[in-house]
């Protein structure tokens, strides 16, 4: 398709092709993504993604809030993995402050972060299968996701917009029966993964729809900025959790699944393997959970415990000051990246020494991954577009921010 490689404008001139508008309210676009497709019969000749329908200016809003208030905004950019976004922002600010986080908080963070990854992958699996006509997988996946959301509700009081991680630790000690609930889930989940696999992995229709579809080479992935499972499915062995560890991931044992096929089926198998690795990490975090505090020793940054406030004057003063004036962060800039379920999630935070961030930029994985969509779909059938969108697992809230 060399003669059509110019994507400079959305004006389509060829006589024998037609323009198909897909979205913004199309069920398989996972949000409000609009695709302008130029098709020749059933073959895609060109594709222009049109985004921005969910743009809410979160980056601008961040500049008007105190550092601790921004945590609640980060939930809302990628609503399928709120804990991951919280973690990334919180790590960035902790890096700016050079705060040491207690071991116990680190373990609970990893545990919840991996549960978030499972929840996010379950939504992906359910909706991806639903797009391709497999209705029952969706119901199975959402059954387990519900368990995870109940766990989130136990620790944070919220099912989706958790805001549980705070700068300097966690907001509260998890309730006592939390660990039992997580343990139950860890016991139950591996056989549930087998159930999903029974439905799909060797299902003839599924394999036909996904194998060899929407191929991406390793070079294309790197030049187009693709990260996460889509990158690993193309044969690049790169996982930030292992290669540039953050938040205590170096204390955990896990395998990074890699495949060389680079198609939709490879991405599916890889995410299924990631589910198994994640659940083993949750188990490791449960087994190795150390005792100790859940907040860093930094009274000017971390809100004091309720009990302390009732007995200690200083605690009350610090609480009042943090809530009314915020805390100031020494000037500087950091870029903190973590491995979100979709790829490299990065926060670039610039501080000018005041209690409000000067600039917060979110490098969202879906935004970069979306650029690869055209490469995946051109020359293939229209029906494969749906498979390709599902396989890169985009979340539009994160793309538009």
């Amino acid at each position: 398709m060399a003669h059509l490689s110019n994507t400079a404008s959305a004006e389509f001139t060829q006589d024998r092709t037609m323009i198909l508008n897909m979205g913004p309210q199309h069920p398989s676009t996972h949000g409000v993504l609009r695709l302008l497709l130029e098709i020749d019969g059933e073959r895609v000749v060109r594709m222009v993604p049109d985004i921005g329908f969910l743009h809410t200016g979160i980056e601008k809003t961040c500049e008007a809030k105190f550092y601790q208030q921004v945590v609640t905004l980060t939930d809302r950019i990628d609503y399928l993995c709120p804990m991951t976004n919280n973690l990334c922002y919180v790590l960035a600010v902790e890096k700016l402050l050079q705060l040491e986080i207690p071991e116990r908080a680190v373990f609970i963070r990893v545990m919840l972060n991996e549960l978030t990854r499972i929840a996010s992958h379950l939504v992906w699996l359910g909706t991806h299968a639903l797009d391709m006509g497999a209705m029952s997988v969706f119901l199975y996946c959402f059954r387990e996701r519900e368990d995870i959301l109940r766990i989130f509700e136990m620790v944070s009081g919220q099912r989706m917009m958790t805001s549980y991680f705070r700068i300097g630790g966690l907001s509260l000690e998890p309730p006592l029966d939390f660990y039992g609930k997580v343990r139950d889930f860890v016991k139950l989940f591996p056989e549930r993964i087998d159930e999903y696999e029974n439905l799909l992995t060797s299902n003839r229709i599924w394999v036909d729809r996904t194998k060899g579809v929407a191929r991406l080479s390793a070079e294309d992935c790197i030049s187009l900025g693709v990260t996460g499972p889509a990158l690993r499915a193309s044969g690049v062995d790169w996982d930030l959790r292992r290669d540039m560890p953050y938040c205590g991931y170096d204390k955990f044992q896990f395998k990074v699944p890699v495949s060389n096929d680079g198609d939709v089926y490879a991405r599916y198998l890889l995410r299924i393997q990631e589910l198994r690795e994640s659940i083993s990490m949750v188990k490791q975090a449960l087994d190795g959970l150390p005792d100790g505090p859940i907040k860093a020793e930094a009274p000017k940054v971390v809100l004091p415990d309720r009990e302390k406030m009732k007995t200690q004057m200083e605690a009350l003063i610090y609480h009042f000051k943090i809530v009314t004036e915020g805390f100031s962060v020494p000037a500087g800039e950091v870029y903190q990246a973590i491995e979100s379920p979709r790829g490299e999630m990065g926060y670039y935070v610039v501080s000018d020494g005041t209690p409000k961030p000067y600039r917060v930029h979110m490098r969202s994985p879906s935004y970069a991954n979306l650029q690869a969509l055209e490469k995946m779909c051109v020359g293939r059938l229209l029906a494969d577009v749906v498979a390709a969108i599902g396989s890169i697992d985009i979340v539009l809230g994160e793309i538009d921010r």
Binding site: G52, H55, Q98, S223, D243, G332, V334, Y335, H361, R363
Partner: protein
């Protein structure tokens, strides 16, 4: 220092061992305006005329463009700071390149020939900051509507918008 943060290193002599500077300094000393090692991260300020070449010099080692964004330092001059976060899969290392652009002429060369992934990022900066990228094939708004006036992430743009 009272806040417990190690002071930043800005001396090029001390930093020249970093793989990014080891590449850039022998290539063109004048392209490197300054460097700063702060909180474990290296930022290198590049002269605006050399940014695309600097990227292609680094590209064999730092093979991945992680992030591309902009900071508005209004009202000080030069006003815009375009920030390139590069990642090396091989060295497991990051480097941040910065280009300062004046407020009355915010133009930088597009790095799309080096990394096609810069496409959306540059469009986003154009849309939200009004920084233009020379050589970008499709520099149109991406987040805001086509007929939107102003660039919302600029510091002189009110948070509530214009009413």
């Amino acid at each position: 220092m009272s806040n417990g943060i190690a002071p930043a290193i800005t001396d090029l002599e001390q930093l020249k061992g970093h793989p990014a500077l080891a590449k850039l300094l022998p290539w063109k000393q004048t392209a490197v305006v300054g460097a700063k090692f702060d909180r474990g991260e290296l930022s290198v300020e590049i002269d605006r005329t050399y940014i695309r070449e600097a990227c292609s010099v680094l590209q064999p080692d730092f093979n991945f463009l992680s992030d591309l964004t902009c900071v508005d330092w209004f009202p000080s001059e030069p006003r815009f700071q375009v920030t390139y976060n590069l990642l090396s899969h091989k060295l497991k290392e990051r480097v941040r390149l910065k280009v300062m652009l004046p407020g009355d002429d915010p133009v930088a060369e597009s790095i799309m020939p080096v990394w096609p992934s810069a496409n959306f990022f540059e469009r986003e900066i154009f849309d939200l900051f009004g920084v233009r990228f020379l050589g970008h094939p499709n520099l149109r708004r991406i987040m805001m509507p086509e007929d939107w006036e102003g660039h919302p992430l600029r510091k002189d743009y009110p948070v509530e918008g214009y009413r």
